[in-house]
């Protein structure tokens, strides 16, 4: 306990010494089931705001988050509670000390498992494990847009918590900008983005402009079209391909409802990219091939219906994922 407290005080502001870690533990316990009161939130914010009078504050970064201004001083021990934040941190050369498991899994997203080796799992996006996060003694927490206020209130007492307010369908380059600012790695990030954009630019000549595409998730009742405003759709569009109307006209929604099999024509395109959320991509495709409605699609008939990793193609936003998408496009479409 004693040792932990000393180390803790090094990571967090001096005031935290008067705020015993046990109390925070107790609060986390109390938080289970109970809704945090607004006064507690204010108190937490007050601690966070009043405590930044250190001489080091020259390097302090002030961020405009979904929960108001947040000051971040150091970003060495980072906890990411968002896949895009994890991708971004790894991309700019910072390995977080903790991150959340991929939606529906127990581990990091498959495509980040090598780069993120050694990153501790601290819960899931929906339910971050507060005690595990506290045990990592982070100096900044990067959380998903749409984080619940009551969870934010607790998290912001553990460390400054950065919650961007961006739409799922915002340009992928911008979506993680606030995380980058929190890490203070704008230059590195910009470089990595430009690398991806240069790759896309270089591939433009090989792509057949005007070819149509839809990214779908395939269910036996019918497909769900993924919005072309998501990262993979934007990259394909940047290459000169053209989204089908149904995926382009979803507005803020990340995907459509399940389309009736009678309306498969609406997703049919020169390229049909089937995002699977498990490793059974081939099985999904095989199951679809048994459906007469699927085999009638021109994409299926020209063998242009291909499966892609849904962790990368349907929900990811970072530059590492963007590179994966470009890899897949090179391998599958521009071969």
């Amino acid at each position: 306990m004693n040792r932990r407290r000393i180390r803790h005080s090094r990571a967090i502001q001096p005031q935290a010494l008067q705020h015993p870690i046990m109390a925070l533990h107790a609060e986390i316990q109390a938080h289970r089931g109970a809704r945090r009161s607004f006064t507690c939130a204010l108190a937490g914010l007050a601690i966070a705001v009043t405590s930044w009078f250190n001489p080091v504050s020259a390097q302090e970064r002030r961020l405009d988050t979904a929960f108001g201004p947040v000051a971040v001083k150091t970003a060495e021990r980072v906890v990411t509670l968002d896949e895009g934040a994890l991708d971004t941190a790894l991309a700019v050369g910072m390995k977080p000390v903790g991150s959340v498991a991929v939606r529906g899994g127990k581990d990091l997203p498959t495509y980040l498992q090598d780069a993120g080796k050694g990153v501790k799992i601290v819960g899931t996006t929906r339910e971050p494990n507060l005690e595990a996060i506290l045990a990592q003694r982070p100096d900044v927490i990067l959380a998903s847009p749409g984080l619940e206020k009551r969870v934010y209130d607790i998290l912001s007492k553990i460390a400054p918590t950065v919650v961007p307010s961006v739409a799922t369908t915002a340009p992928w380059q911008d979506r993680n900008a606030l995380y980058v600012a929190a890490l203070g790695k704008e230059a590195e990030y910009q470089k990595r983005v430009e690398e991806v954009e240069a790759r896309i630019e270089a591939l433009r000549a090989r792509a057949q402009a005007g070819q149509t595409f839809t990214i779908v998730r395939w269910m036996p009742q019918g497909p769900m079209a993924m919005s072309s405003q998501l990262m993979a759709g934007r990259i394909l569009t940047a290459l000169g391909l053209q989204s089908t109307d149904i995926a382009a006209e979803l507005g803020d929604r990340p995907h459509s409802d399940i389309l009736s099999l009678e309306n498969l024509g609406k997703v049919d395109a020169d390229w049909l990219l089937i995002a699977t959320l498990n490793e059974q991509g081939q099985a999904t495709l095989d199951a679809a091939r048994k459906q007469p409605a699927f085999t009638r699609l021109k994409a299926a008939q020209s063998d242009h219906a291909v499966t892609v990793d849904g962790q990368v193609w349907s929900s990811a936003t970072g530059v590492l994922a963007a590179n994966r998408v470009v890899d897949d496009i090179e391998r599958l479409i521009l071969k």
């Binding site: 899994g105 269910m219 459509s256 009736s260 099999l261 959320l277 199951a287």
Partner: protein, 335 residues
Amino acid sequence: MPRHTKRMPLRRTAIACAALVGILMFASMLWGAGSLTVLQSLQALLGRGSEEAIFIVHELRGPRTVLAVLVGLALGASGTIMQSATRNPLAEPGLLGVSAGASFAVVLAIYFGADSVGLHFSIAILGSLAGCFLVLMTTQLRGAGADPVRLVLAGAAFSSILIAVTTLILLHDQRTADEIRFWVIGALGGRPTSNLVWAAPGILGGLVLVAITTPALAALSLGEKVALGLGHRPAFTRLLAMTGVAILVGTATAAAGPIAFAGLIVPYFARRLVGPDVRRALPIAMVLGPSVVLLSDILSRLAVRPYELPIGVVTACIGAPVLIAVVRSHRLPRL
């Protein structure tokens, strides 16, 4: 046994309901979530029009119409028999552990590695039979098999346990959750045509089984002792009837997923039309069942074009008010 005030002649009612089924089957071929107009559908039905239209009407709407009729038959008949055998107007196939047993068996099978869609139906039937017999055994344990309330309570408790375990598995393993989602939501579209091949004999067999128990069930409704005095064997009758119900519901659930409330509302309307005698109510339920399922399916296609609602949502919208009406009616009809 209270007499119903407005009893309609059986034959005329049956003919009217059968005509309704015919009309709805026809309508089911003409209306869909696609862009075909009614006129185009009509032409396609007669084998004219574009190849696309003929495909939609013959290959997509045809099989799901037949499936709707089969599932409606099964749910209508099993609901009536169940309510009669348990002498409880609120008894529903979902209550007997049948649906929960079927879902649980399929989830378990997928969890242990099964992934082909074709595997599910036999497992579902086995699961529903197992669920049903476990419930029946529970009620026999204390020699109180004659008590219908106990049966329903045991079924509800057992279903809850199974649903809890099923949910536990789904939370634990996302792959299962992804594959099961289609299966635990009732839907008629997108089911492989091969479903019809095994569902038809299963449902016909179940119907024969429940049909031969109706005279004994009718005697049972006069009371256990009267039935014994008339030379029936109540325990055996109930066992036979419940086996039939398990086969019917298991097959229907395996073919189209669980469709809530159909088994509750159909017998209710059937009794309203021809009175509580199971020998009269069963044939009416067998023509009303397909009507309810067909109507729900048509509505599910038209409600959110170009997408489709799960049919369970529609039957729940129709069924929930009926359930409340039954409960609220000042005196529950005794069976």
